[in-house]
């Protein structure tokens, strides 16, 4: 149990299972463990990068933190604790909270999506989209709400008059700014951003990254930044957690994890990142063979052993426990020293 004053989020033993249905009667035939006993700690004001490939469970962890899994999937199996400590000192395990009790926490934890408008009403104006959370979580009168919406638009670099417009009138980058304004409306303390810049043109990505960092400073925000683009994640994150098949395989300071990775999967992932330097062309690199297995057929023991260059029979026996390899840097592989 972490009760340190500067800890905003403490995830302990988070497991998420989705039911698998099969057969003619669509009966439940099993459970997919999308997330398997994940521990995460987030210090107030910190950005934690959560990286991994498709099927790694990173998005599911993000959704569990904002507590939207149960509304999305009523049959989901959730275990573990998602303990959040608010600025005012109040504390709750979001995982166990019912709708009513969750309400004050909804204002404190917000989410930013890859395409913020895929889940929003296309016929609602920007004023309504950004004003909605204010309606739910504050008792501001209509004109005060409107003024706040326009302030927020200005904060994210848009004109106040855009409040009258509709989502389809905006480019991808502008939409992401509006999504961020909506997330900021309730003065959140934590934002879970799921691939916030992946759908944007390269020249626009940098604008949104800069904006997210600027508002983080201004609002003293903490981020869980979920993305597959490791160069962007490295840029924004204080610490990085690497996921593979539902488990965290390595977590530590961003530069340590990406510049001296210890887990064989992180090594391979970092080696696979293309670098903008033609002089490096043709280098021989470690390459992972094959594909990430589906969580339905997760290997026993260490999930990575089927693609791991240093796997041995004992890796099938038990899931590896995290080992400390440096300051705040842990690796879930008992054989990491062999990589040198």
């Amino acid at each position: 149990m972490s009760t340190a004053a500067d800890t905003i989020l403490s995830v302990r033993g988070l497991s998420v299972g989705f039911p698998v249905v099969g057969g003619l009667l669509r009966r439940r035939v099993g459970t997919v463990r999308a997330v398997d006993r994940v521990d995460l700690e987030l210090t107030r004001g910190e950005t934690l990068g959560l990286v991994g490939e498709s099927g790694s469970g990173k998005t599911t962890v993000g959704r569990a933190i904002v507590n939207v899994l149960r509304p999305m999937h009523p049959d989901v199996e959730l275990a573990g604790a998602i303990e959040m400590t608010a600025r005012d000192g109040s504390r709750a395990d979001l995982n166990g909270l019912e709708r009513r009790a969750m309400e004050p926490w909804r204002a404190r934890v917000q989410m930013v999506f890859q395409d913020p408008f895929s889940s929003l009403n296309p016929r609602a104006s920007v004023a309504r989209l950004i004003g909605r959370p204010l309606e739910l979580h504050t008792d501001l009168a209509a004109d005060a709400r409107r003024a706040r919406v326009e302030d927020l638009l200005e904060k994210v670099g848009l004109q106040r008059s855009y409040a009258e417009r509709f989502p389809h009138e905006f480019s991808g980058g502008q939409r992401q700014r509006i999504g961020l304004a909506r997330a900021l409306a309730t003065h959140p303390e934590l934002i879970v951003a799921d691939e916030p810049v992946s759908a944007l043109d390269v020249s626009v990505q940098a604008q949104v990254v800069n904006l997210m960092q600027a508002v983080a400073r201004e609002f003293a925000l903490s981020y869980v930044f979920i993305a597959h683009d490791l160069s962007v994640v490295h840029h924004v994150s204080d610490r990085i957690a690497v996921m593979y098949l539902g488990s965290i395989v390595e977590v530590g300071p961003a530069t340590a994890v990406l510049e001296s990775p210890r887990h064989p999967y992180t090594r391979a992932l970092v080696a696979a990142i293309p670098r903008p330097d033609p002089r490096r062309r043709g280098r021989e690199r470690v390459r992972l063979e094959g594909d990430i297995p589906t969580p339905l057929a997760k290997p026993s023991g260490c999930g990575f052993r089927t693609r791991c260059p240093i796997a041995r029979p004992s890796c099938a026996a038990a899931a590896p426990e995290p080992e400390v390899v440096g300051t705040g840097h842990t690796v879930a592989c008992p054989h990491w020293r062999e990589l040198g």
């Binding site: 390269v202 020249s203 490295h234 924004v236």
Partner: protein, 346 residues
């Protein structure tokens, strides 16, 4: 390695392609010219709406008509203008001597035909080989692209493969007739980074085995270009803005747009500091500036002449050409951009 002493295998000249949008026509490719040499990998880099993918579709005569039409120019392949051929004649070239790979293999593979049949059919149609021999060739190529147990998997359907494996099947299909030119449009964009690395390695390996094969790689990702391409063409607003050997482009980019793209890539040495950005948004294809530099609305160095006259593509260093008034005058656009960005920073 490029073989510049040999004649180009593909000569694209003044290509113009437009689309009807409502009652207006949008010119998606506006006078694009380039040569592709045997054994060369040419990268075409651009953002959405730059015209890079429409350029590829135009070369392959795959522009849907209507609403699209190729309005001018020529695409000379082995001395024949593909734009002047009839559709049946084009089909004989496409898939045989010019192979193609797209971002989403599911949209190009036939979902109800086993993969063995699909790959073999290309050989049957284009080379007239009997089914049994064509299937043998299919096994050979599926094995070469890294499909495990290829012979056993001939009867499998595309949906039975993962995204990375489907992209391998598509590469086998693109290469099975041993094309002279391979056109790959964002071939790894939908894939995870470890799978992307496998596919890029595979393309490199294929080219080592058949050194004459030329590749056009279309991507938005400068890092992918750095890892794979000999020469790079940067497109913005339907036009080529800069073209250069990869080493020259990465060592000394000249066009403010190219410089802006490089500035947007996070540099680990400047972790956490504000990234250099290109102001504004990619303009809609109907709103491109006319009679002016296409990029001037977003360019921090723009001057009066940039708003009133469109620059030509001018060679500023060996084989390195730029469409920018300032760069053409020999100005150090890179240093000027760095200064402008430093001043803009709070």
């Amino acid at each position: 390695m490029p073989h510049d002493e040999k004649p180009p295998v593909l000569r694209v000249r003044d290509l113009v392609t437009s689309f009807a949008i409502g009652d207006r026509r949008a010119v998606a490719v506006d006078g694009v010219s380039f040569d592709l040499y045997p054994g060369e990998t040419l990268g075409i880099v651009g953002e959405s709406g730059s015209g890079k993918s429409v350029t590829a579709l135009s070369i392959l005569r795959l522009v849907p008509n209507p609403p699209g039409s190729i309005d001018g120019g020529s695409v000379e392949f082995e001395g024949i203008d593909l734009l002047a051929l009839s559709y049946p004649q084009v089909r004989k070239v496409r898939g045989a001597r010019i192979g193609m790979i797209f971002q989403e293999p599911m949209s190009s593979l036939n979902p109800v035909l086993p993969i063995g049949r699909q790959v073999a059919e290309a050989v049957e149609v284009h080379e007239g080989l009997p089914r049994a021999l064509a299937l043998e060739r299919a096994v050979e190529f599926l094995t070469a692209v890294g499909i495990p147990d290829a012979r056993k998997r001939l009867d499998h359907y595309p949906h039975q493969f993962s995204g990375g494996m489907r992209q391998r099947v598509m590469i086998a299909l693109a290469l099975v007739c041993r094309p002279k030119v391979l056109i790959a449009d964002e071939p790894t964009t939908a894939l995870d980074v470890t799978i992307q690395a496998q596919i890029l390695d595979l393309l490199g390996e294929m080219q080592r085995q058949r050194p004459e094969t030329a590749i056009v790689l279309i991507t938005h990702d400068l890092a992918v270009v750095a890892e794979t391409c000999d020469r790079v063409l940067v497109m913005y607003g339907a036009k080529v803005q800069e073209v250069a050997p990869a080493e020259s482009l990465f060592a000394a980019p000249r066009h403010p747009y190219t410089l802006g793209l490089f500035g947007s890539i996070p540099d680990p040495a400047r972790k956490g500091q504000p990234l250099a950005t290109i102001p504004g948004n990619v303009p809609h294809i109907l709103d491109l500036p006319r009679g002016a530099c296409r990029f001037h609305t977003r360019c921090v160095l723009a001057e009066e002449r940039c708003r009133t006259s469109e620059p030509e593509l001018v060679e500023v260093a060996p084989r390195h050409s730029v469409r920018c008034h300032l760069a053409a005058d020999g100005r150090d656009t890179r240093a000027e951009m760095a200064r402008a960005n430093a001043e803009a920073r709070p």
